[in-house]
Assembly symmetry: C2
């Protein structure tokens, strides 16, 4: 009689520390192999295999085989959005406890990738600056391209994402898990990060979502966005 959504199915898929770590590693949008993910979670490959099977059955991940490797990734951006939302709901006590970000803490607080867009302190600072510059503007709690949008993006040589169908906005807001403020996601944010990596402002790392800000990156973010090193590393 009662025909209710089965929150427990998705819940069970998340209800394990190892699976949580695996999903977090996948949250930067890249695909990883079973062995890499086992290493990230600190478990044996057989166990990771079982976990990935579980995640895939729940529809959270998808796999893609290439030779003798099988790459796993987040199933789609829909799933990524929900996971990010759940992360925003998680208790944060364990964050500031060790490795406080205020004293130049772990790099993952400064800048990290979040399903192909920039998150962390750098992510929210850039977002707020883009709104100040009227490149983006707030509208009814959502964010839309602003008056100076096209001008700005063509100035820095960024291809402007084509207007998408109404159900898939070109830019969205996403609650930053560590900063508790919004950063941008969506196609525009994806292109921005890819451009930042291509241009050598940021560098990905091997087994971490953390992004390294290069010297050129610090210089560029300061000059173009007005976001300087002190703002990124410092307190406020």
């Amino acid at each position: 009689m009662a025909m209710e959504p089965r929150l427990d199915i998705i819940g069970a898929a998340l209800a394990d520390v190892s699976r949580s770590q695996i999903l977090c590693a996948l949250m930067d949008g890249r695909a990883f192999t079973n062995k890499e993910l086992a290493c990230v979670a600190g478990i044996a490959p057989q166990t990771a295999s079982a976990h990935l099977k579980h995640l895939q059955l729940a529809g959270l991940t998808s796999s893609l085989r290439s030779g003798r490797h099988i790459y796993h990734r987040i199933a789609d951006k829909n799933v990524a959005g929900v996971l990010e939302a759940i992360a925003g709901l998680s208790p944060t006590d364990h964050l500031r406890r060790n490795g406080s970000s205020r004293h130049g803490g772990a790099d993952i607080f400064r800048a990290r990738s979040c399903y192909n867009h920039i998150a962390g302190r750098l992510g929210v600072l850039l977002t707020e600056r883009l709104i100040d510059l009227n490149v983006l503007q707030l509208s009814e709690g959502a964010v839309v391209p602003g008056d100076h949008g096209n001008r700005f993006f063509s100035d820095i040589g960024l291809p402007i994402p084509s207007a998408s169908p109404a159900h898939d906005p070109v830019v969205k807001l996403c609650l930053d898990w560590t900063e508790r403020r919004h950063h941008i996601s969506g196609p525009l944010a994806t292109q921005l990060m890819q451009h930042a990596i291509r241009a050598g402002w940021l560098e990905r790392r091997r087994n971490s979502r953390a992004l390294t800000i290069t010297e050129r990156g610090y210089e560029t973010f300061d000059r173009i966005f007005g976001v300087n090193r002190e703002m990124i590393e410092g307190g406020s």
Copy 2:
């Protein structure tokens, strides 16, 4: 070293059928007592008590005591939104299996409350109609009040929600769990449902999120919104 979000904490809170049922019961926005929720989930009160303790510790629910009763509810609209998003991610195979909606199935498919706004077939039909009538309009994948908005709402005697601060839009889109199409949420949608109940178009039930559509309701939805009984009950 690794400082990642603990998806498993929220996941563990959801990873039980009884807790899932409890949360679903709470998803209509009303508060229930321990005993009522135990009844919904089909478990003993002691077990429900442990579950509610778990949910509260995870920050998903909050309790409020009134006399010898303790009322439990979803912690905030933030949590409600995430839960609805997770429900939209859940597998749907078990839905059409029993009680198909096409053959005039369970009422919960026709109309139900979802954290104080209307969901189910009626919810998505009203939403689409409001967009057609230009009472609401799509903008960059979000939804905002349209040109005929104020006129329409004052016509039916609905107080127009005041424009909220930018971070809390007056109306939002929410993926309907059964219909897989969008319905509206947010303050405007809340007021719409409350008005519909006050005006006798809909009636709440005791222990279910399902809403009963009254005869006056059918007549009104047809006349004002152009949503007739056949559309609500039928296939399409």
